[in-house]
């Protein structure tokens, strides 16, 4: 065989080998929300975003809200009458409240301040709908390439009656700050959120579930160091917390019961007795308003899709059936919260 023929034959044979081993097309974003074949009906109204557009699932209907507005982290009042969300701009974001259809919008946080442009994300309503907790980098030091300063996110609250905002939690610097703030249902003075830290030697990223009394400002970790537990969501009665626990190559959905209050760091941590609800790559769990299901986004074949897992909290908590896919191949925004109202 001549050298030229060999040079041609080898790559062609090699390509044939690759052809024989190909697994098909890469998953592709269809650019729209696609329902699964089973047409799972959503009870109440469930909000999610795709490509920063807000969608409402109800029954087997889908409604697009807030056309032209870049939305992240929708939230809804307990009665479903009011929405809150982060409205994204080019280099900043602000918390906006509106009615349930996205009308009568009002911006409640600044998108810039003397310290520079600001981020605001992850709003969550109190039971009475009069307070919102959210994340922002407000209060940071001005930063420039010559004088770099951190801009970690802290937890703030806004009283919607007075419009007054205050910082509840100062973030640990150079961690990215805190995430996922939620009020505990049924009480007026308890918060839950994720604290991002570094632990171990050598240092490694850590995420801890954190309880806070807004009355005393006391803060207590409810998950161990050297682990990543995050994205807590309360059952409507405030007795259970579902959350994500990072494992080796997975982000599983767990649930744990929670004591009424905490005066010191509990040992063992409540997370150590938590129950695995769903394994896989899971994100943004949210409890149904009637407490009978948990919705979440799950990575399946390269797409984050909406799933609903029926659960029972009678006695011990447990799933009452398999998780059902509401969407299929829809590439929903897994970095944006879900919200669910009656």
């Amino acid at each position: 065989m001549t050298r030229a023929r060999r040079a041609l034959t080898v790559p062609l044979v090699a390509l044939l080998a690759v052809a024989c081993s190909s697994n098909g097309a890469a998953p592709h974003d269809p650019g729209k929300v696609v329902f699964s074949g089973k047409h799972v009906a959503v009870s109440g109204k469930l909000y999610a975003t795709k490509g920063r557009s807000l969608y409402r699932f109800s029954g087997t209907h889908l409604t697009s809200l807030l056309a032209g507005v870049m939305v992240k982290d929708p939230a809804v009042t307990v009665d479903g009458a009011r929405l809150a969300f982060a409205q994204l701009q080019e280099q900043s974001s602000a918390i906006v409240v509106s009615d349930a259809n996205g009308k009568a919008r009002q911006t409640i946080t600044p998108s810039s301040a003397p310290e520079g442009a600001l981020w605001a994300f992850a709003p969550h309503y109190s039971d009475d709908g009069q307070q919102i907790v959210y994340l922002t980098d407000r209060g940071k030091q001005p930063s420039s390439p010559q004088n770099l300063q951190p801009n970690d996110l802290g937890v703030w609250s806004c009283d919607l009656r007075s419009g007054h905002s205050e910082r509840l939690v100062a973030p640990v610097l150079y961690t990215g700050g805190d995430s996922d703030p939620v009020f505990r249902p049924g009480v007026n003075d308890q918060l839950f959120f994720t604290t991002y830290l570094y632990g171990g030697a050598p240092l490694q990223p850590v995420a801890r579930l954190t309880w806070m009394s807004t009355a005393s400002k006391a803060i207590t970790y409810l998950s161990p160091d050297l682990a990543r537990n995050f994205q807590p969501t309360f059952s409507p009665d405030g007795r259970f917390v579902a959350y994500i626990r990072a494992g080796v190559g997975s982000d599983d959905l767990y649930v744990m019961p929670l004591g009424p209050t905490f005066s010191r760091e509990p040992r063992p941590y409540p997370t150590e007795g938590a129950l695995l609800l769903q394994s896989g790559i899971i994100s943004q769990p949210v409890w149904a308003p009637d407490g009978r299901a948990v919705a979440f986004l799950k990575l399946v074949n390269g797409s984050f899709d909406l799933f609903i897992l029926p659960v029972s909290t009678d006695g011990t908590i447990h799933p009452t059936g398999p998780a059902e896919a509401v969407t299929h191949g829809s590439f929903l925004d897994a970095d944006s919260r879900l919200a669910w109202s009656p």
């Binding site: 041609l8 790559i281 944006s336």
Partner: protein, 334 residues
């Protein structure tokens, strides 16, 4: 009666059935070869773009690549650089240095990140940060520097620029990553504006999510808001590399390859040839999650300041050598 033009000549015999078969087979073969060449051209162009010429004063690679049918370890030095307008094309620092070590005998791949600020001997250039080697002598000097400092034989290299990474991630349809900490950076270098200078604000929420090319680049590149600084960046770089591999597993490479190659032309350089790329691709496809080992030398380095005032990392070489022996066994250079 005169005949104009040619008509069938009674009694003349045409090509036999066998001759027709041969002609048809030859035409089909020719079409296949031409089609194959057209298909392969962008791929071959891409693979042909590399620093092939030996550089004066730079030691030659310590070892030739193992034969194709060998079970010997193959080490590839993966380099990533700024390549936007503000840098000379021939003076790029390597912001990323990862040794990808493929071990066919044990069906395993090791990713070893080398911190860019590590203070090492750069052959022919004295002591400096390891990221300077690529700027001073391209891939050959980066390879020689790694071989000298770590005693790891480097058989191939692959360099990718910023836009190359963005295109790779976009071409595989984005990647799925568990972002371990929120990423916030008010002074992230805006690489793609007209001047190449200026900054932009970056926010990437923590948790599992899908990233497009631009956000994947921000994720691997930002370090201002990370207490772990370069180590944090190394973790993120390996995470993205593994996510790209996972995503590519689901692709039809045969149809994607030429477009992929055209997209990456000018943004990737490598001395890997097509056959080796194919061999490695097939090997990677057969790997499970547990077959990939992530390695960092972070525990064996400490912060320091160089005599000229640079923030650098000093290595505990005996500890690093012990660690590398665990990773590479007897396959280190003497």
């Amino acid at each position: 009666m005169s005949h104009s033009g040619v008509t069938g000549v009674p009694g003349a015999t045409g090509p036999s059935r066998t001759q027709w078969l041969v002609i048809t087979a030859a035409l089909v073969g020719l079409a296949l070869i031409v089609g194959g060449l057209l298909y392969l051209l962008p791929v071959l162009q891409l693979l042909g773009a590399h620093d092939a010429a030996p550089v004066r004063g730079v030691p030659a690679p310590a070892h030739a690549p193992p034969p194709l049918d060998s079970k010997q370890r193959i080490n590839i030095l993966l380099l990533g650089s700024d390549n936007d307008q503000k840098f000379q094309q021939d003076a790029l620092l390597s912001q990323t240095m990862i040794v990808v070590s493929v071990d066919p005998a044990h069906h395993q791949v090791t990713l070893l990140s080398l911190p860019r600020d590590l203070w090492v001997d750069i052959p022919g250039h004295g002591i400096g940060k390891i990221d300077l080697a690529y700027a001073r002598g391209g891939a050959p000097l980066a390879r020689a520097t790694v071989e000298k400092a770590f005693r790891i034989p480097i058989h191939y290299y692959a360099w990718i620029g910023l836009k190359g990474l963005v295109r790779v991630v976009d071409r595989v349809g984005g990647i799925d990553v568990d972002v371990v900490h929120p990423v916030l950076d008010d002074n992230y270098p805006n690489d793609f504006n007209d001047s190449g200078y200026g900054t932009e604000r970056v926010y990437i929420a923590a948790g599992p999510q899908h990233l497009d090319g631009r956000h994947a680049l921000q994720y691997v590149r930002s370090r201002h808001g990370d207490l772990l600084s370069d180590f944090g960046r190394s973790i993120r770089q390996q995470q993205v590399l593994l996510a790209v591999r996972q995503r590519a597993e689901g692709m039809d490479l045969v149809t994607a390859l030429p477009t992929f190659a055209r997209d990456l032309n000018g943004h990737v350089k490598t001395d890997l040839d097509l056959v080796r790329v194919t061999q490695l691709g097939l090997f990677m496809r057969g790997l499970g999650g547990g077959d990939v080992r992530q390695a960092f030398i972070t525990p064996y380095v400490r912060d320091a300041t160089s005599p000229d005032g640079q923030q650098i990392l000093l290595a505990d070489w005996p500890a690093i050598n012990r660690y590398l022996r665990q990773l590479f066994g007897a396959e280190l250079l003497p």
